[in-house]
Symmetry: C4
């Protein structure tokens, strides 16, 4: 296999689509968000590209005995109302620094092929503590995008994210800008310890405003409740053991 | 040396052969199984290809003073009865993620060259505890293979192997499927702590059914008994030291 | 993106310029020094090249919400008096051994393009203890440079730096020499625990002599004072906790 | 710089030379041995090739203030009596698995260019304990070499070296054999904790026999005595601290 091996599963004419990325990352926020979009827009979405690459781990997933080679998938969504979308999902990021450049370039090539010139990278920003109010922190390629994003509820902060944005989300902005893409990264606050459907919902509510689409959150809220149960049980166990309130340090990443 | 350097040691016409992979992995199950096949079918097998690669460790093995460069070997087997076979054995897997893709692609090229369109990847699946009854867990590229494999004793489980299949075994399925290969991975249950000839036997018994071949297990059973002796001695030592039954945690990987 | 992607931001004729490198390293000495040069010579400097590369981390920085893809920048400086300069600054070094060779070669290509045949690599040399008198240790590509550098205050020591010079500073000398560059590395002594503006000043004072330029140090001295305050507070905290003088071991890297 | 950059420093006609490798490794035995050869044969040796490579660390060495880019050097030796030699020395091995293949191939290209078809890789084999009698363990590419080597004092052992031979020494045999080189690896026993001039002498004494050359060992013996002093001082310190004999575990690698 070459470094990249892209299956053109279907061709489709889209009208000025917006590219939306949701690969795994902090709190799985981006992946939860895009997978929820795909679930909600299932009737209007078509798998158009599969991206295989030597930059992904050398791995198949196995579901009920049937294997699938690791890949990223891009779906085209053409809803009756609102903007056309290209949704990127997958189970893995690239495994090397170099690989992030290679894969993000490939994703942008595909986005361009379908006529996109705007992109959103969805992800999480770790706060280190459990969260009540989920803010969505933003980064953008051009100052001119600030007003619209702030109106949709995005916060821009002077010093965040402190270490910049790493991986495909970061490069989607960085490499995208060099090709003329207007891109933003929407990062839901999340503890960093847990898969966080509530943070994904916060990110999606921003996206609803920006893209003028409407989403139902029932299935995502169910997942959030399941996670609450998990957290509740952990806290109970901790309390039985220690007879005092658990600290954040007691929590590990739970997916 | 180029990334790949393949010696065509011999040419041979095979009739629709099945490609069987047995490189080192969990419990050395796959390697033990293919090496036993080679031992049993010695009279009917011919070394046809040696695959050298910069993806293997930079190493020679030394046996009785004579050095051999690390490589993988492919043997053609044309038994009087049953299917023709191509058997892949070797002492190493690739050393990088990328290398697994490179080497598996090379192995599939050779398999195609000899007319193969089916493949079995043999390996172990770790259970974390010593085993009495050795089940063989399967993964397959196509749902249509399920019935035949289940009849041969393979179990397909909803959630196993949990993390998918990594390395050459995984890619043999994943990359093979993309070329039209019907492939399955046969994983013998094994503790994960020990070289496990019994698990290899369980895998081979499935293969006997599927390929309609017959094998003698005397030498493999001898190796199993040697391993039993090793385990027995360890348990004895543990008991003398602790005067209670050793737990799995007391065992380390012993080869 | 290719391995290298260089933006020619501006073209400019320079007269036998000197190339000066200041990427991050021990005590951030080199970066502080070149960034101070850029600040002082702002009116006379022009950004001429941006170097993007897959060898840099896959990352954007975010300042007040706006993202910038990681890159190195080269500025041309043409002061009314003194030598023309090419100043290299950036936030990252290459992420692999190989990458240091690739990037340094690219930097030297650009230096040659602008007519440079001399280079200075600025950096720090760790002493492991807090410093009162900041010596500047040197390394040079040609013995003939010794006298001038010693006159400017550089010390050449028999056994330092003990492990040689690693990264872009080292290769600027090593690869530069192979292209006929006369290069020197100026290493300010620094504890190695702290961002060290005083060490950067010591290095710049040597450079002033060599290049016959004049610099004002007000802003750098302010940064040095801020660092002194930080050190003072740490020492206070230590004393309150331990009621004895902190050792160097109590200090961690503080930036 | 390309992956390889080879300076042809001088050309020289050699008569069927033997290639001898001595890059750093266990106990620095190989490097000590080849460097001693170079010292003893100084009057008859000529530097013919410098090999620079991105596979070496990105580093310059600095001696008395003057920098040199990391490289490997090949010297041609044409003694009045005995075989012509090509001696390979340097301060570093390749930094990646892949790099060992690249560099060893380059070294063999140069050896072929000068007409060599035999090679010796010199190194150490770790025993884990201090040594009185220094045996030299061998590995060879062809069984036919055994008799001559055994006569010269080489021991071939059934199970050693247990893990094979890794790095440039291993590949010199492995890749060399594939080009028709008759090669042997001569490994002096050494504790593995110390730079070991005595082990280097043992290896050279074998080489004297095989190549029919004669060497003086004065300077190597001096280095051995210096090491003895170091060991003695360590043992003294240990005894003062513990008032009992130091074990091998008390020793660290000292160079």
């Amino acid at each position: 296999m070459d470094e990249l091996d892209i299956d053109a599963v279907a061709e489709l004419d889209l009208d000025d689509p917006v590219f939306v990325e949701g690969l795994p990352g902090v709190g799985h926020v981006g992946k939860l968000a895009v997978d929820h979009l795909l679930e909600e827009l299932e009737g209007e979405s078509t798998l158009v590209r599969r991206v295989y690459s030597r930059e992904f781990p050398p791995q198949v997933t196995v579901e009920d005995g049937v294997s699938e080679l690791t890949c990223a998938e891009i779906y085209a969504v053409s809803p009756p109302e609102g903007r056309d979308l290209l949704l990127l999902t997958g189970d893995h990021q690239a495994q090397t620094n170099d690989g992030h450049y290679v894969l993000t370039s490939a994703f942008l090539d595909i986005a361009e092929e379908f006529g996109a010139s705007e992109a959103f990278a969805l992800g999480g920003i770790p706060t280190g503590e459990l969260i009540d109010e989920y803010a969505v922190v933003g980064a953008m390629t051009e100052e001119s995008m600030r007003e619209d994003l702030e109106e949709a509820g995005v916060e821009f902060r002077e010093d965040e994210p402190a270490g910049g944005i790493v991986g495909v989300s970061g490069l989607l902005l960085g490499l995208g800008a060099r090709r003329g893409f207007e891109s933003a990264c929407l990062m839901g606050e999340t503890s960093g310890y847990l898969v966080d459907p509530k943070s994904a919902r916060a990110v999606l509510e921003v996206l609803e405003e920006v893209l003028e689409i409407e989403l139902d959150y029932e299935t995502l809220d169910e997942r959030a409740e399941e996670m609450e149960d998990v957290i509740g049980k952990i806290q109970e166990m901790e309390q039985q053991q220690q007879m005092d309130v658990p600290t954040d340090d007691d929590l590990r990443y739970i997916g």
